[in-house]
């Protein structure tokens, strides 16, 4: 939080948010940012800090900046900044416990006390810098004796009731209290007596509590109410008797509850699955990408030896801010279970471990003499783009066009990118002024995205839902179960929400993954497009048509064109050879009776169950692979641990199969594959950068599309809904995870208890 780079970076994004009541656009560093036309809340007000160009003189500084002096150094900060932000901008460390840039200001830990001075002289007592707006003509001192003494005093009070169990505390080594006690605390304590003790709370199978360690910063309480949107945590009691808890014992019913572990500055809230496994200095961090949903949250994978020991979020304002979902955080123990680690070949009805040579030879025998239209390939949820493009090239070389992506009705087309990505980009949600969800429940499809919508809702953006009613942790308007509801909405009449939608300048429509899985998908999509055209969701500056996916590999697969080529039709013949690339959620009828099935993947699940040959691949933590998230951002998952036993990188397996089948692919290095990816879709060359807005061709595209669906009708009786029934178990990794099984159980128990 204290690095200057981050501060400068957040300047452009949040600067205008600091201008209370000013609704014009500013040009900051060449980038145009526009304020939302609603009142800016205190959360946003204090969520940023900025450094101005120190060389500029007073006359050159823009009107919205003000100057102050921190420890004798002059600094320019945006008006409306807090004293703490000014100190941060000046590079002066101010210790803190309760302040967090993404949460509202509580000002209750009193650790950030500083001295202020103005024309009246020194402030009568030290001031909590996080909650004090910076006034003109104020000078800040953080190096006075009084500040030093105040910090020592606060620290001594905090340590009065804090247990001395650091050696057995999971936070040891990464504890704010430990660190700050070393820097700012007194060298000895004066306390003799009995320390306070607090009964531990049971928040469920993911978050462990040792409440005696709590210093009452209330970050978790503010997080739960403001970000996660569950009113589960609170403070009970007063003074020395106050406790953080759920009042009556209760599960913390949030899909993002794990973030309180990161927020907790001490060891009061820690990870249950990670408990007592490692110390932070033993771990090797790897920056990677989460694949549990299609948001592509940025994560850090902490490993020791060959084991993934924990997963933590990485900040990326454009994608996940500071948060990740519980599935992303806790599913890693699934990487140890049900793994496929040797090739297997079916002999006499039973799978037997084999050598790679034997497995590939068995595939050669099976494919020998088959025509292209007798083959088929299905790509799964967690596949990286390199292996997708390799398999597409291989199948096409064999003359096969039957390529499909799992959990999407056959006939999905990938010609127009803007028809299947999140066009407004995820940060576009912050700019939207009215949101409609069609057949989507982002709370389970992408919880972090839901938190973003919630943030917008917090700032008075109304959210309408078309489809089965859902609980999104905030107030929504239910508009109807089917797309018929969109017709009324396009007219802008009938309900208060419809009128708001009509007035909206930046309306947002989010189409959920459930729509793509329905039999009447094409009809639905063309109806939604009619609506989008009529309601003016797409203008020259704004594209509010968004598709939210539920699988990390989906957009990547469509981007490389893992569908039948243009003008080609998938054959109607039942396939005799099926290649499952990590596909486990396929429909049983997709695999014809008697077909020879090859399963390439890392977990023994549904796919391996029907396979004749199993080729063990690598999980996302074991290989370097590109993934494209819902908004079309290309990000790289990096190798954190080595591959298991005999398993290999997935693209290498496809490459080896191609050689054995005599259709050798023209690349044999990862660079070669990535060059091929760039050849197909140039955006694969821009890893980790914000997605470009795809060209909007959907008007023409769906015009032609309308011919195809003429005469067909939407199945109105089946309500639009999310395909996810259990948030915690959606793919092979989470299904193999013990932590996720426990979370499922706890959630079920909680819902039966409610009834």
């Amino acid at each position: 939080m204290t690095t200057a780079g981050m501060r400068v970076w957040s300047l452009a994004q949040n600067l205008t948010a600091n201008l209370v009541g000013n609704e014009t656009a500013w040009l900051v560093g060449g980038q145009k940012t526009t304020t939302r036309t609603v009142t800016t809340t205190m959360t946003r007000l204090f969520s940023s800090s900025a450094v101005a160009d120190a060389d500029k003189t007073e006359e050159e500084m823009p009107e919205h900046m003000m100057s102050t002096i921190v420890n004798g150094k002059e600094i320019w900060v945006p008006k409306g900044s807090s004293v703490m932000q000014a100190c941060d901008a000046a590079g002066v460390d101010v210790p803190r416990f309760c302040y967090h840039p993404k949460l509202s200001v509580a000002g209750n830990c009193r650790m950030c006390l500083v001295d202020l001075e103005n024309h009246m002289g020194m402030s009568p007592k030290p001031v909590a810098s996080c909650a004090m707006p910076l006034a003109p003509g104020t000078t800040i001192h953080t190096d006075t004796d009084r500040v030093k003494k105040a910090r020592e005093g606060v620290m001594e009070f905090l340590l009065l009731n804090h247990p001395l169990d650091c050696p057995i505390c999971d936070q040891g080594g990464e504890c704010d209290l430990q660190d700050q006690a070393m820097h700012y605390g007194s060298d000895r304590g004066r306390f003799v007596g009995t320390k306070r003790s607090v009964v531990d709370k049971n928040l469920g199978p993911l978050v462990k509590t040792v409440m005696t360690r709590c210093i009452h910063c209330t970050r978790c309480v503010r997080y739960a109410t403001e970000v996660a949107g569950v009113q589960d945590l609170g403070v009970t009691g007063r003074g020395g008797a106050s406790e953080i808890g759920t009042y009556v014992e209760k599960l913390m019913e949030s899909e993002m509850s794990g973030n309180v572990i990161d927020l907790c500055p001490v060891g009061a809230l820690t990870s249950k699955p990670y408990a007592f496994t490692a110390r932070q200095w033993e771990l090797k961090p790897t920056e990677s990408i989460d694949v549990s949903d299609a948001l592509g949250c940025n994560i850090r994978v902490d490993t020791r030896g060959t084991e993934v020991l924990r997963i933590l979020p990485r900040n990326n304002e454009g994608v996940n801010e500071d948060w990740i979902s519980d599935k992303a955080r806790f599913q890693y123990d699934g990487l140890q279970r049900q793994r496929l680690n040797v090739p297997m070949v079916k002999e006499n009805g039973a799978l037997k471990p084999a050598k790679w040579e034997e497995a590939l030879f068995a595939i050669k025998e099976a494919v020998g003499g088959l025509k292209g239209d007798e083959m088929k390939a299905i790509a799964g949820k967690l596949v990286d783009c390199e292996s997708l493009v390799a398999l597409k090239d291989l199948m096409n070389r064999l003359g096969c066009e039957n390529l499909s992506v799992e959990s999407v009705t056959a006939g999905m087309e990938a010609d127009v990118r803007s028809s299947y990505v999140f066009n407004s980009s995820i940060s576009g949600i912050d700019e939207a002024d009215c949101i409609v969800l069609v057949g989507s429940n982002p709370r389970v499809e992408a919880p972090v995205l839901n938190a973003r919508i919630r943030k917008a809702n917090y700032e008075a953006v109304q959210v309408g839902v078309v489809g089965a009613p859902v609980d999104l942790t905030f107030q929504t308007h239910h508009l109807g179960d089917s797309v018929a509801a969109l017709k009324d909405l396009a007219k802008g009449k009938g309900s208060a929400f419809a009128e708001t939608f009509k007035k909206a300048k930046r309306p947002l429509v989010i189409v959920g993954p459930g729509v793509l899985q329905r039999e009447d998908r094409d009809v639905l999509l063309s109806e939604i497009h009619n609506f989008v055209d009529k309601a003016g969701v797409v203008t020259d500056e704004w594209n509010g048509f968004n598709v939210l996916h539920d699988a990390a590999a989906r957009v990547g697969a469509l981007d490389v064109g893992f569908v039948p080529s243009l003008g080609e039709k998938p054959s109607d013949k039942p396939a005799k050879f099926v290649y499952l690339l990590g596909a486990d959620d396929f429909d049983a009828k997709e695999i014809p009776e008697g077909a020879f099935v090859v399963y390439q993947g890392h977990h023994g699940d549904a796919g391996a169950n029907v396979a004749d040959v199993i080729l063990p691949g690598a999980a996302f933590t074991e290989k370097s692979g590109l993934y494209v998230n819902s908004e079309g951002r290309v990000q790289m998952a990096r190798r954190a641990v080595s591959t298991l036993a005999e398993s290999r990188d997935d693209w290498k397996i496809v490459r080896a199969v191609s050689e054995v089948l005599g259709a050798t692919l023209p690349y044999d290095t990862i660079q070669g594959v990535r060059e091929r990816l760039v050849e197909i879709a140039p955006h694969f060359g821009k890893v980790d950068s914000a997605p470009e807005k795809p060209v909007w061709l959907n008007g023409q595209y769906f015009g032609a599309h309308a011919q195809k669906v003429k005469g067909k009708k939407a199945l109105d009786k089946v309500p639009l809904q999310t395909p996810i029934t259990n948030f915690y178990m959606t793919d092979v990794i989470s299904r193999a995870s013990r932590a996720m099984a426990k979370a499922t159980q706890a959630r079920q128990a909680a819902s039966t208890a409610k009834q």
Binding site: E358, S647, D649
Partner: protein, 104 residues
């Protein structure tokens, strides 16, 4: 001459080795003799007397180690009771595939 004498010595000790290392569970006397013979024939092209003498000396050393049980059973098995690998004899068609079969 030295080589022939050494070959006979080895053959004389084969039954002892067979018993010591319990090789009868894995192979027969005849196949073992055959594989020893093959090892000798592999070096048939060596004509330099000095080289032959060195090889005989090394072989003799090896035999002594075997007889004193300084080697363990799996050493003997991998070296002399070669488990024939049909996939090894086929040369992989490319560098990529060879590397792929060997490791990730």
């Amino acid at each position: 001459m030295a080589a022939r004498r050494f070959y006979r010595t080895v053959c004389k000790y084969l039954p002892t080795l067979m018993e010591m290392y319990k090789l009868d569970e894995l192979t027969t006397m005849k196949t073992l003799q055959n594989s020893v013979k093959n090892i000798f024939y592999q070096n048939a092209h060596v004509k330099d007397l000095n080289k032959i003498n060195v090889m005989v000396h090394k072989g003799d050393e090896e035999l002594r180690l075997l007889l004193r049980m300084h080697k363990q059973r799996h050493h003997v098995i991998t070296k002399y009771v070669v488990m024939h690998d049909p996939w090894k004899t086929k040369a992989p068609p490319s560098g990529f595939l060879a590397q792929f079969y060997a490791s990730n």
